[in-house]
């Protein structure tokens, strides 16, 4: 939207959790932080990763929703479930290959990152990408991201399922997609 795209680069993340704290300050879902943040293995390393929803082109969460409650807009943003329709069945929570949707039990609604829709639909940047001090989460033009050594990729393989997303993952140059299943790498004659 407005010529800007979302890029995620976990190698730049410093684990400050500014994204997590800023996420709950946006207007669309005040009080709830939608970022998925992990210490990869604190005993071994200070490596951390923060992820937002990947806003898949063919969102698995929307596909499996029995109540037709999850919609993907024309600008590509996949929204939290529509409150009048959501039945809190958690199908989407289980189906998403990235583990993004969160079931908010007190509200009986699935909520997830919607790219701070109140901000991005008006041409502003999402909270997380605005505050991230290392720009591991970045919402910039493709020209800006081209200055980095890593290159954006948005194709993932989970076994037989191919997922392409609106949000890009920064990968080493030359690597066009990310495969999760070891079966994709082995040779079976």
């Amino acid at each position: 939207m407005f010529g800007l795209e979302f890029y995620v680069d976990p190698s730049r993340c410093i684990g400050c959790q500014a994204c997590l704290k800023a996420c709950e300050e946006c207007e669309t879902h005040r009080g709830y932080s939608m970022i998925n943040f992990d210490f990869i293995d604190r005993r071994e390393t200070t490596a951390t990763a923060a992820y937002v929803c990947w806003h898949c082109d063919d969102p698995t969460c929307a596909e499996v929703c029995p109540a037709d409650a999850i919609k993907k807009g024309e600008d590509g943003v996949v929204h939290s479930s529509l409150k009048p329709r959501c039945i809190a069945c958690s199908n989407c929570v289980m189906a998403c290959p990235f583990g993004i949707p969160k079931m908010m039990v007190p509200e009986q609604q699935m909520m997830k990152c919607d790219m701070c829709y109140d901000r991005t639909s008006a041409g502003k940047r999402p909270m997380c990408a605005t505050v991230c001090p290392s720009q591991a989460l970045a919402y910039v033009t493709p020209e800006e991201i081209a200055r980095r050594r890593e290159k954006p990729a948005n194709t993932f393989y989970f076994g037989k399922q191919q997922v392409t997303s609106k949000v890009y993952l920064m990968m080493p140059a030359g690597q066009e997609s990310l495969s999760i299943d070891v079966l994709d790498y082995i040779w079976e004659g």
């Binding site: 082109d57 063919d58 969102p59 929703c65 919609k71 993907k72 807009g73 590509g76 392409t164």
Partner: protein, 168 residues
């Protein structure tokens, strides 16, 4: 945004319940209310228009036309003529030596042409057995809902002249 499923191969339910907002055929309350309101408004306006038109409707002016000579047709005979204009056939009947009657020939039921039955001395419509009185054009039997329009005749000189029409 549908990148991976060529259109046309979708089952109907996918089409009806699309997960892509752009392809939704979902009508929301606002859209429905808008539709109802606008349609009602259109109909209301239409009615007002019709009412205005009727209010300003002028009485038609009828021409004076010679229909036939007094002795042109025998007693019990008929003459078909057009009055007031070329597309409106009428029927003149000599009911007696000195009495004549003329009516619109268009049956008021479904616009068939009525004819004069000498035996029964009445105007009959062949389509649905509708009978009209030859004295005043009223409906004797059958489906016609209204009497035949009557042509006003005058004797001028030795002729019968049509001067107007009376609707039934």
């Amino acid at each position: 945004m549908k990148l991976f499923r060529p259109s046309g191969t979708d089952p109907l339910w996918r089409d009806e319940f699309s997960i892509f907002k752009a392809e939704e055929r979902y009508v929301n309350r606002r859209q429905l209310t808008k539709f109802l309101t606008l349609t009602s408004l259109a109909m209301f306006t239409g009615n007002i228009w019709i009412a205005i038109r009727a209010w300003f409707h002028k009485d038609p002016v009828y021409p004076i036309r010679a229909v036939a000579g007094l002795e042109e047709i025998p007693v019990g005979g008929v003459k078909i003529f057009d009055y007031p204009a070329a597309n409106h056939p009428c029927i003149l009947v000599r009911t007696g030596p000195d009495s004549y009657a003329a009516y619109s020939q268009i049956c008021t039921h479904l616009s068939c042409a009525v004819f004069y039955s000498r035996d029964q001395n009445r105007l009959e419509c062949p389509c649905h057995e509708g009978y009209f009185s030859v004295h005043d054009g009223s409906v004797i039997q059958g489906p016609p809902p209204r009497p035949l329009a009557r042509v006003v005749l005058e004797r001028r000189g030795g002729e019968l002249v049509a001067t107007g029409m009376l609707q039934g």
